[in-house]
Symmetry: C2
Subunit: 438 residues, 2 copies
């Protein structure tokens, strides 16, 4: 099957683990069978590959997530990058153009579009595969996957089907209803809208052409800003008559808030944590390397990361967004395509960061106008290039880089570096990149 | 007045702010009139000086606290250092010998001994001064200060006085009673034992001579290990017939647990903190430079420091000790006589610490057998001495020190340094000190 995973979201609801550059789908919090931890993205990717070895997977996302995706899934994964953040219709339109014009998938082939963050079992992906097959073979413009509701919820949109068969025509849609209305919908066989769509490429590309004529992927990419800021549900699904829904009654969790995320955790805590006496229904997610001790708490989530610390009543945690939007803060941790960095110390005229480069990777060859840098190699082996001069480096070596000097470091093994930036105007924008001729 | 402040305690009850090297009396958490923060020790010291400009203040403490005391009160403060940790009788005995043999205070002069950690107003110290005067002039061996109980408590020892006058003979003492007994004591005019004693030097030195004959301070110091591990209350107070108590009815708080400490806080939080919706009776004490966000909590204390994070129901927080005793952890922050250090990163073969030297101070001249070190100067000006060679340093300078090299750094202004230690066996014990001939 062709599958597009929509990887969006600024992830403020799962602060401090998620932030502007680190969305919830990248947090490694799910224990695998071999005892290691994987992220939502890695989990979904693994599940799709397990169900369909030949699946053609494309991630539709924004520029800010590209490094993290490469970091977690490798360099080979197909990524359709939005030039700017819009809504799901433009993102799906661009990804569909990417499949056809870049990856060469035929206009009559089908694609399944799916959010990257459902917490589900393998059977879910078998349904996705079937959805793709149905979209390919049947004379139906759009297939949706509806989730059999486990309780009346005000959080979801509802699909009202014509009947209660496994596959049925869709009568109409209802946006997030109040609790009583949700109850009535469910009585009439309504389904939660999971945000999964399957269609033939031609179907969506024709819609886009009508809205904004374009020649190919590059042309659509350059015009992206002109596409309306509108959801796929509103722009396409709700206007379509020939739409069918497949009923899914397996496990499905939307891990959008701390409350729902903790339900999917393997145990009460992750990381260095101590649950003291009289704690009931407490979850601790600790990414720091010092312990979190909880005593005498009930229904509380505690999460600590380099960005900050959240302590919240579980129910209350869904109202986190406005508080986090008011936090003005430097990014303290980020995953990049070449590895990761963590800010350890911020002073007025210095910034100390720990850089971890994965084997075989390197930073851009670059220089800074307004700061000096000092590197102390903590572990591993590699090579630095400063003003064209290459030098072997190993643990204990110290490299001083003056402002204006072009420099990079290449990791031969995993390489950990303490980088101290020094200057009056330290800024991420003070960076000139150069080609490295070698 | 002559006053001895007993500065003891490992401070596990106020973890993560206190630990083995940082007792609660050093935590800067009390807002002064000019908006700065001071510690219990600094507060008490300031209050004593305010009440009695000519007070002769001596701190009785263990070796591990000497650096922190100098850091907070300066180099001039008198400190009587116990060679090893015992109990209050040996500590008071040694401090009394220190006053007589080192500071030259006469045998018939009085001294007031007081714990360093009561949270009190100025009037308390006026009472202490009066206690000293009474001990000096009256034919009474021992004066105590009893606190008028504000409620029946199982936490304190009780002084049972002969009558309910302001100053009265003491009938006897009762150790921590149960609640019902405490109620009966209070009906009969009993007082909480505040741990304050006033006596003439001769009185205590005679007691010590009877127990363990000694010649002078140095002799007692060298025999300190032979003194019994016994409290002053048990060894002296409870055996004494000629003892009077002064009744104090002002504000007095024993800030031994998070619950009582938060009551003395100036506001609901200290440091970078956000109290979100529906929080009731929540206190946040955050020493980290990232925010703590609390939502929907009641009666909770949250404390975050470089050592760890505590989230506890306030009542439950008094039971913290056994949990903290089980935490095996490197010291992450410490105040030294020359400044402070904070551990920022721990790897298998490297340790990165941020060192802050106060102006005019320096580290010992020392070397390490099994590790190299790299210093990056973050801010300030000073001089390094490596193998006898002195060199001016400023922000941005990098100094590499090989294993075996003698080295130190002297701060001309406040000097901040990122120190990276590198080696297979990094240990605080790998340190040889040398005299610095200059």
């Amino acid at each position: 099957m062709n599958i597009v995973l929509l990887s969006g979201g600024s992830g403020k609801r799962l602060w401090p683990l998620s932030n502007d550059v680190r969305s919830k789908q990248f947090i490694k919090i799910f224990k695998t069978e071999n005892g290691e931890y994987e992220s939502m993205l890695q989990r979904v990717y693994r599940q799709i590959c397990h169900v369909d070895h030949s699946a053609q997977i494309t991630i539709a996302t924004s520029k800010s997530q590209v490094s993290a995706i490469h970091n977690q899934l490798g360099e080979q994964i197909g990524i359709s990058v939005e030039p700017c953040r819009k809504d799901t219709f433009p993102a799906i339109a661009l990804a569909t153009a990417y499949l056809h014009y870049i990856q060469g998938i035929g206009l009559d082939e089908s694609v399944v579009v799916c959010p990257v963050d459902p917490y589900v079992e393998m059977d879910y992906f078998k349904y996705l595969k079937r959805l793709g097959e149905l979209a390919q073979t049947e004379d139906v413009n759009l297939f949706l996957m509806g989730i059999e509701p486990s309780y009346p919820s005000e959080k979801y949109g509802y699909i009202i089907p014509e009947d209660q068969e496994d596959i049925s025509w869709v009568k109409n849609f209802k946006e997030k209803p109040d609790m009583e209305t949700a109850r009535q919908y469910i009585k009439r066989g309504a389904l939660w809208n999971s945000g999964v769509f399957a269609y033939k490429l031609r179907y969506v590309l024709d819609k886009v052409q009508k809205m904004l004529p374009f020649i190919d992927y590059d042309d659509l990419f350059s015009k992206y800003d002109e596409l309306p800021r509108i959801s796929f549900d509103y722009a396409v699904v709700e206007q379509e008559k020939k739409v069918k829904a497949v009923r899914f009654n397996g496990q499905w969790k939307d891990l959008g808030t701390w409350n729902t995320l903790t339900e999917a955790m393997d145990g009460p805590y992750f990381g260095d944590a101590i649950l003291g006496g009289k704690c009931k229904n407490v979850n601790i997610v600790n990414e720091l390397d010092v312990p979190v001790l909880c005593m005498g708490l009930s229904n509380v989530i505690v999460s600590a990361s380099p960005e900050g610390i959240l302590v919240s009543d579980k129910g209350e945690s869904s109202y986190i967004k406005p508080y986090v939007e008011n936090i003005q803060q430097q990014i303290m941790y980020a995953e990049k395509s070449w590895g990761s960095f963590r800010v350890l110390d911020v002073e007025e005229e210095s910034l100390t960061i720990k850089v971890t480069l994965r084997p075989g990777n390197r930073m851009n060859y670059h220089s800074h106008k307004r700061r000096n840098e000092a590197w102390v190699i903590l572990s591993g082996r590699g090579r630095t290039i400063v003003e064209g001069m290459e030098q072997q480096v190993k643990a204990g070596d110290v490299i001083a880089v003056e402002a204006g000097c072009r420099h990079t470091v290449i990791a031969d093994t995993e390489l950990k570096i303490m980088e101290v930036q020094l200057g009056r105007e330290i800024s991420v924008h003070d960076k000139q990149k150069y080609a490295l001729d070698r």
